[in-house]
């Protein structure tokens, strides 16, 4: 993939060059979209919603997958600029490394809208959620369940990614508030279910019954931790909370195996991104920052979130 894709994009860019220019001059606005990773369920949901919304609004989207590579993302944005799109929506791979893409688009006079996560360079507009809040909500729930006293384990995403940094920041803010909560161990599970499951199995070996709660920075890892705890017969004694509210996690909350998840609204992020972009393209007033709130999902309210 790594070797063939750039060539493919080049060819695709060349082929689509002419018709897209026609489109740009025509009545249909053309929007280039570069997504972090189309192998991630949440990101796919955001992208699906954007396509739906764009079709309804009569806009044309070119969606490409950056495959978690900031370099590839910059190249994709460059090719969008060369194609003369009306606007660019970017779901940044990294805070710093994806920033040049924003700078280049702005320099070319093309509005660029960040969706889901942020870059260091300020884009034309940002649509997403404040990840610090999600970490805060998750850890507050743990504090409530443990009455502010107990040992907590934290499973990080990929170290250094915006979501990881901010979710950790939110969680640590709450930990500071409750001196009775002790962070027993923390380690990266790389957003991956199997990785997090192995990690949890090893922690069960080293800490055993000392573990009172687990905060996993995404649902995949939360589900992995639940599997390991279930296998060890410890799930009933340990509170597990994660973030994203993917269908699998909602199912687990309903069954009572996962204690809570934090709902990040993929559909809202997708549709608001398109809405904001179209306002900018049509020179209407728009908000520079559209924040979509997180919601805690527990067994009591899970029915509202399950489709």
């Amino acid at each position: 993939m790594k070797f063939f894709l750039p060539a493919f994009i080049l060819v695709a860019a060349l082929i689509s060059c002419n018709p897209s220019n026609d489109n740009a001059k025509g009545d249909k606005p053309l929007i280039g979209v570069s997504m972090l990773s189309m192998q991630n369920e949440f990101i796919v949901s955001v992208s699906d919603e954007m396509e739906k919304k764009a079709e309804a609004a009569g806009a044309e989207l070119i969606v490409v997958d950056a495959e978690r590579s900031a370099l590839k993302q910059i190249e994709q944005v460059e090719s969008f600029i060369a194609q003369g799109v009306d606007a660019i929506i970017m779901n940044p791979c990294e805070v710093e490394a994806s920033s040049p893409a924003v700078t280049k688009a702005l320099a070319a006079g093309i509005p660029i809208i960040n969706v889901n996560s942020a870059t260091a360079t300020k884009p034309t507009a940002f649509v997403g959620s404040d990840d610090v809040e999600s970490g805060r909500i998750a850890m507050e729930y743990i504090a409530k369940r443990l009455d502010g006293k107990g040992n907590v384990i934290m499973i990080h995403g990929y170290m250094g990614q915006a979501a990881q940094i901010q979710r950790e920041q939110g969680a640590r803010e709450v930990l500071k508030k409750y001196p009775g909560l002790k962070l027993l161990a923390h380690q990266t599970g790389e957003w991956d279910r199997a990785k997090s499951m192995s990690l949890m199995e090893n922690w069960i070996q080293s800490y055993g019954n000392k573990i009172n709660a687990v905060f996993a920075q995404n649902d995949e890892m939360g589900m992995g931790a639940v599997k390991a705890l279930e296998a060890a017969g410890m799930k009933s004694k340990v509170v597990v909370v994660s973030i994203d509210a993917i269908p699998d996690a909602l199912q687990a909350v309903k069954k009572g195996t996962l204690d809570a998840t934090v709902f990040q609204n993929a559909a809202q992020q997708g549709s608001q991104a398109i809405e904001t972009t179209l306002k900018i393209v049509n020179k209407q007033p728009y908000k520079k920052e559209v924040l979509i709130p997180f919601q805690l999902v527990t067994m009591e309210n899970v029915a509202e979130f399950k489709k």
Binding site: A185, A194, N202, Q251
Partner: protein, 326 residues
């Protein structure tokens, strides 16, 4: 003709024996024992039955892949498509493993068929064209990842039957099922490599392909066999992984091929072909698993784990090179 054939076989046999008793395997066994002892001394939780059971369960997936790639490397090839095959087979199994749909044999059979087909495709292209295995399997690695995403529509496939989830999460007399699979497959692979004529052929092909061909061995058939085997074992790994995490994940298995190749190399399989043992590979896989588990128990950041692993891989190859000269 007959004589050359016999001598090639004897030569292969000798190579095998010298390898088994060479410093390579003992060296790595020694390293393994030393690391285990060090971990046992530093963390009391290491040497417990439950922890060792967990290590074996965690190691099983990598070991299955490593057995497959050991066959391939012995014949002088390489298989970079392992991780993608894990994803394709895992997703295909998951698609047919929903409760109350098909009997357990269906998802298992489909996954194995998919693995053998992909492995066979590798073997076919490698033997029919003169393209190096590195390039061919790099191509199938990409194709496989794409197929896994297409089959799953980019989303994890959950809600799998209890029978299917037993493959990775069940227990037989208190022993996790993946360990049972590991032991059985290890025995079968060892027998195939050591006791059958096909095993001898593999060493012969990897040791000297021209001599093997001259002595009447069907090199193409041997190669087809090892790549198909690699695919079948990847399918088994895909089944165990999917069942263990109770979802078919299209992005599962990324980078698994590297861990598997590392296990084989650490275990003394020579990258130039013609030598290697299943026991060595098993120790290699165990070593990787023990280090990762031990460093987790010691709460060492995973960054350091990667550095340690790299040092061990290079060390193993250097050791193998020294051994070869001496």
């Amino acid at each position: 003709m007959k004589e050359t054939f016999a001598s090639t076989i004897t030569q292969a046999k000798n190579t095998y024996q010298t390898r088994v008793h060479s410093l390579g395997v003992f060296g790595i066994l020694l390293a393994f024992v030393v690391i285990c002892a060090a971990l046992a001394l530093t963390t009391p939780r290491f040497l417990t039955v439950s922890n060792l059971t967990i290590i074996l369960t965690q190691v099983s997936i990598n070991a299955l892949l490593a057995f497959g790639v050991t066959f391939v490397i012995i014949t002088g090839g390489i298989d970079l498509s392992l991780g993608s095959m894990v994803a394709v087979t895992g997703v295909s199994a998951a698609l047919f493993a929903h409760p109350d749909t098909y009997p357990l044999m269906v998802p298992l059979g489909i996954a194995l068929a998919a693995g053998v087909a992909m492995g066979g495709f590798n073997g076919l292209v490698i033997t029919k064209s003169k393209v190096p295995p590195f390039i061919v399997t790099l191509g199938t690695m990409t194709i496989g990842r794409g197929l896994a995403l297409i089959l799953s529509k980019g989303r994890p496939i959950s809600n799998l039957s209890d029978a299917f989830n037993f493959m990775g999460g069940g227990q037989v007399f208190g022993i996790p099922f993946p360990i049972v699979i590991l032991v059985v497959i290890f025995a079968l692979c060892s027998i195939l490599l050591r006791k059958t004529i096909w095993g001898r052929y593999m060493y012969a092909v990897g040791g000297n392909e021209q001599a093997a061909r001259a002595s009447g061995i069907s090199v193409a058939k041997v190669k087809m066999l090892v790549y198909a085997l690699s695919g079948a074992l990847a399918a088994l790994a895909g089944i165990v992984l999917t069942s263990r995490i109770t979802t078919g994940q299209p992005n599962a298995g990324q980078g698994f091929e590297l861990d598997a190749i590392a296990a084989a190399i650490i275990g003394g399989t020579s990258t130039s072909g013609g030598s290697g043992t299943m026991t060595g590979t098993l120790i290699g896989a165990l070593l990787i698993g023990v280090i990762s588990n031990g460093l987790d128990l010691l709460n060492v950041t995973s960054y350091y784990q990667e550095v340690v692993m790299g040092v061990i891989i290079i060390g193993a190859v250097v050791l193998d090179g020294l051994n070869r000269k001496g």
